[in-house]
């Protein structure tokens, strides 16, 4: 992917390290995992990890778009669960309904993103609060609809989407690859992507070079919501059952992954590669915790430590 981020003039060592921090961390983690459990690198295990990582990674891609324009999307997890409930509302049994369900999910998600974006741009609500409120509203609507316990069923085909394979490759990983390709092109190759970086880096300048930054920001919120909606459907397929909390915690994990991957909360800095790698790092860490025989809850502690350390390192590198 083309690097349009500026090369700094005299490059401090830290800044250089920062460029490679993400791949280094990835390799180091894999090495650790392999050292503890040699079978880690087996195709089967890698496949499992990727299958696990895919739904989160889908959300992370969208989150990265929002963070790049100085935003934050806390509503993604709530949206994932809402979309999952929506999918069951069709009570469909035939796989032929899957495209319809996807279409409905994407439309609803896009609408949610539109509202988030409008609140942030037109009403000047802080992204944190706008998407927080959206998260709570979606949660209320969802629970009211299901009265606390979702019923309804999904077509069999969802299981295949969430956990199945094509030619030995997990379906949801292929879906991720497709989304990554499309969004990567959009962000790093298209003029829309350039507008995202300009808007995120300097909104005032964006307006003066004729970029409608409001529209760019709204579009980013829509990308985030649509990715969350798609991720919700794949996650439901992976988990196999719908409940009101599908994807719980993904909003924070997605932000953590972006930060680990070098997408700066201050906007305009970071790549889709980094964000996706951040997601992978996070899932790897979760896995290593399991491999090491630590309690699952240790994942939380390590996640907490890692986000602070990663953010501190990037903050320092940027200052230098």
């Amino acid at each position: 992917m083309t690097e349009i981020a500026a090369k700094p003039g005299g490059e401090p060592i830290l800044a250089k390290l920062q460029q490679f921090a993400v791949p280094i961390a990835l390799v180091a983690l894999m090495a650790v995992a392999t050292a503890v459990q040699p079978s880690f690198l087996s195709p089967n295990n890698l496949q499992d990890i990727l299958t696990q990582a895919a739904p989160l990674a889908l959300v992370v891609l969208g989150q990265a778009f929002v963070i790049l324009v100085r935003g934050l999307d806390l509503s993604v997890a709530s949206l994932m669960a809402s979309v999952a409930v929506l999918a069951t509302a069709f009570n469909a049994t035939s796989d032929a309904m899957i495209p319809v369900i996807f279409a409905a999910a994407i439309v609803v998600s896009a609408l949610v993103g539109l509202i988030n974006g409008l609140l942030v741009t037109k009403r000047n609500v802080s992204p944190f609060l706008a998407t927080l409120a959206m998260m709570i509203v979606l949660q209320g609507v969802r629970f009211y609809y299901t009265q606390g316990s979702p019923s309804g069923s999904l077509p069999e085909g969802f299981r295949f989407l969430g956990a199945g394979q094509i030619l030995g490759l997990p379906v949801n990983v292929l879906a991720f690859a497709l989304c990554f390709g499309v969004l990567g092109w959009l962000l790093h190759k298209s003029s829309f992507g350039r507008k995202i970086y300009i808007t995120g880096g300097n909104p005032a300048a964006a307006d003066l070079v004729g970029i409608r930054s409001d529209r760019v920001i709204i579009a980013c919120y829509m990308v985030s919501s649509v990715m969350a909606g798609i991720a919700g459907l794949f996650l439901v397929g992976f988990v196999g059952t719908v409940d009101n909390w599908v994807g719980r915690g993904y909003e924070l994990d997605a932000i953590v992954a972006c930060v680990i991957g070098g997408v700066a909360l201050t906007g305009g800095r970071g790549t889709l590669w980094g964000a996706a790698a951040g997601a992978l790092i996070l899932v790897l860490i979760f896995n290593i915790v399991i491999i090491l025989g630590l309690p699952v809850q240790a994942q939380l502690m390590i996640k907490g430590l890692i986000i602070i350390i990663a953010a501190a390192l990037f903050a320092r590198a940027q200052k230098a």
């Binding site: 970086y197 300009i198 003066l208 305009g268």
Partner: protein
């Protein structure tokens, strides 16, 4: 009162002050004058203990001092009012005046009654009456400045430094400020007044010290100098060498931009003018007169409420920046860092931002094409940068400005509005930028130059519009263009409104 001797301050790679000597007395207003980058701010910060000099001595109030913290200088009686006012908008006038040292009553709690009373006293001493209970955010910038000065008065301030205080207030407010400052001088306070505006220096200062390129040029009684001598001290060469030859607009052409009865409240009340191809038209006036707002309203980055604009003969009445750019109108902002450059992106992305469609193919942005275009601009404007893929943050002001010229001349070939085109740029780069402007005009671009630096307006423009309080109050052409005439129109003193 204060005496600095042989001060040298080195920043990585740059000698910001080189063996500078400066001395100011109690009860005088001493102007510190110099171009941008001459070292004025560094010298002030050295006085204030914010910088520690590599060499030299500071003597204050009869004692040798070596500050290691700003607080020490402050406690000794040095008070500095920076351009960026150090006020808290959500707090009252009195609280701001006493920030950090509020009068205490019982149990060490803040005694608001005493605080309001003493704040009123300090404002009295200044002769400026403000409600001490008013919130800062409800005050005009000029009143806020008075609060800053009042802050100095509640401490035992012996030396008051004002760093370009008139940059943010109108001419009328400036006169009020001068009056207040003189009043303080008469009370025995030593005042150092930093500015690069000559007219102000003559209006207020008793003595003047000039710095140039980090070096001490000299100190004079203001009565011993005339403008030209002062300019010569500041610039170090004759004005004639700086500006290119003046030419009028291209003959027999229709105006490329017409503006009729433009209104954009609150700053733009009624503005009409024509701009011709090849013309360099100046728009002068005091800061706050509404000049930048005229530019924004034409360009579409600020809403108009009324008026008719034509661009290249066609009506341009539903403006957006996008539409303006597409019709060949470019706007180079005065705020290079805040609204101009994208510091996180490389030079090439900075150049092509307004014309992304030109580089867009069905496969996305054509990066190769973009780089070539950026390389063109590097050559054309002799920008000192290793290549188009490098960042713009570390570049000098002049090179940054040239990148913006690259951006706008590539995008827009009809009209360029240049707002403070040489702000924060050193003399050498200024000369280059003036040549660029001349060359663009020769190529047929209509250019509107907004500038607070009168010598620049006088030296560059073949016709000058003067604004005051949202109206065009005068138009000067040819040989009539001089600083005095412009100032007359810019301040109320001309009496008659030309508009």
């Amino acid at each position: 009162m204060i005496r600095l001797d042989g001060i040298t301050k080195v920043f990585p790679g740059v000698k910001s002050l080189d063996n500078v000597t400066f001395e100011a007395r109690a009860g005088e207003i001493h102007a510190l004058l110099g171009e941008n980058g001459a070292g004025k701010s560094t010298l002030i910060k050295t006085m204030a203990g914010a910088y520690i000099p590599e060499a030299g001595t500071i003597e204050f109030d009869g004692e040798r001092r070596a500050w290691s913290l700003p607080k020490e200088a402050k406690d000794a009686g040095i008070h500095i009012i920076y351009q960026e006012l150090m006020l808290f908008p959500e707090m009252t006038v009195a609280e701001n005046i006493f920030i950090g040292e509020a009068p205490r009553g019982r149990f060490g709690l803040i005694d608001y009654r005493t605080m309001y009373a003493r704040a009123a006293e300090a404002l009295d001493r200044l002769g400026h009456h403000l409600d001490p209970r008013a919130l800062i955010k409800d005050l005009s910038v000029a009143d806020q400045q008075m609060v800053e000065i009042a802050k100095a008065l509640v401490g035992d301030t012996k030396l008051l430094v004002l760093d370009e205080p008139t940059a943010v207030i109108s001419g009328r407010e400036a006169e009020l400020l001068f009056d207040r400052v003189k009043r303080l001088r008469d009370q025995g306070v030593c005042i150092i007044y930093i500015s690069h505006r000559l007219e102000e220096i003559f209006a207020i200062a008793d003595r003047v010290t000039v710095l140039k390129d980090g070096q001490y040029v000299g100190t004079r009684e203001i009565g011993d100098l005339n403008r030209d001598q002062l300019v010569a001290m500041m610039v170090g060469r004759e004005l004639a060498d700086i500006f290119p030859v003046k030419k009028g607009p291209h003959a027999d052409t229709a105006p490329v931009l017409t503006v009729r009865d433009l209104q954009a409240p609150p700053k733009v009340k009624d503005v009409s003018f024509d701009l011709y191809p090849g013309e360099i038209l100046g728009l002068a006036g005091l800061v706050g007169a509404g000049r930048s707002e005229v530019a924004h309203a034409i360009f579409g980055s600020m809403p108009r409420t009324d008026g008719a604009v034509t661009l290249g003969g066609e009506a341009f009445n539903t403006p957006t920046p996008r539409a303006a750019i597409d019709r060949g109108l470019g706007f180079l902002t005065e705020d290079r860092k805040g609204e101009g450059l994208m510091m996180l992106l490389d030079m090439a992305a900075n150049v092509t931002a307004p014309v992304l469609p030109e580089f867009t193919t069905p496969l996305g942005l054509d990066r190769g094409h973009e780089i070539l275009a950026a390389e063109d601009e590097i050559r054309r404007f002799r920008i000192a940068i290793p290549g188009p893929k490098y960042g713009v943050k570390q570049l000098s002001g002049g090179n940054q400005q040239k990148i913006l010229f690259g951006r706008w001349t590539r995008a827009c070939r009809r009209v360029l509005i240049l707002d403070e085109p040489t702000r924060g740029v050193d003399v050498g780069a200024k000369v280059e930028i003036y040549e660029i402007i001349r060359k663009l005009a020769d190529e047929g671009v209509g250019i509107l130059v907004i500038s607070s630096e009168l010598p620049e307006i006088v030296g560059l423009c073949s016709r000058v519009l003067v604004m005051r309080e949202g109206l065009i109050t005068g138009e000067v052409t040819g040989g009539d263009i001089n600083e005095e005439t412009i100032m007359q129109y810019a301040t109320a003193s001309a009496g008659a409104d030309a508009a």
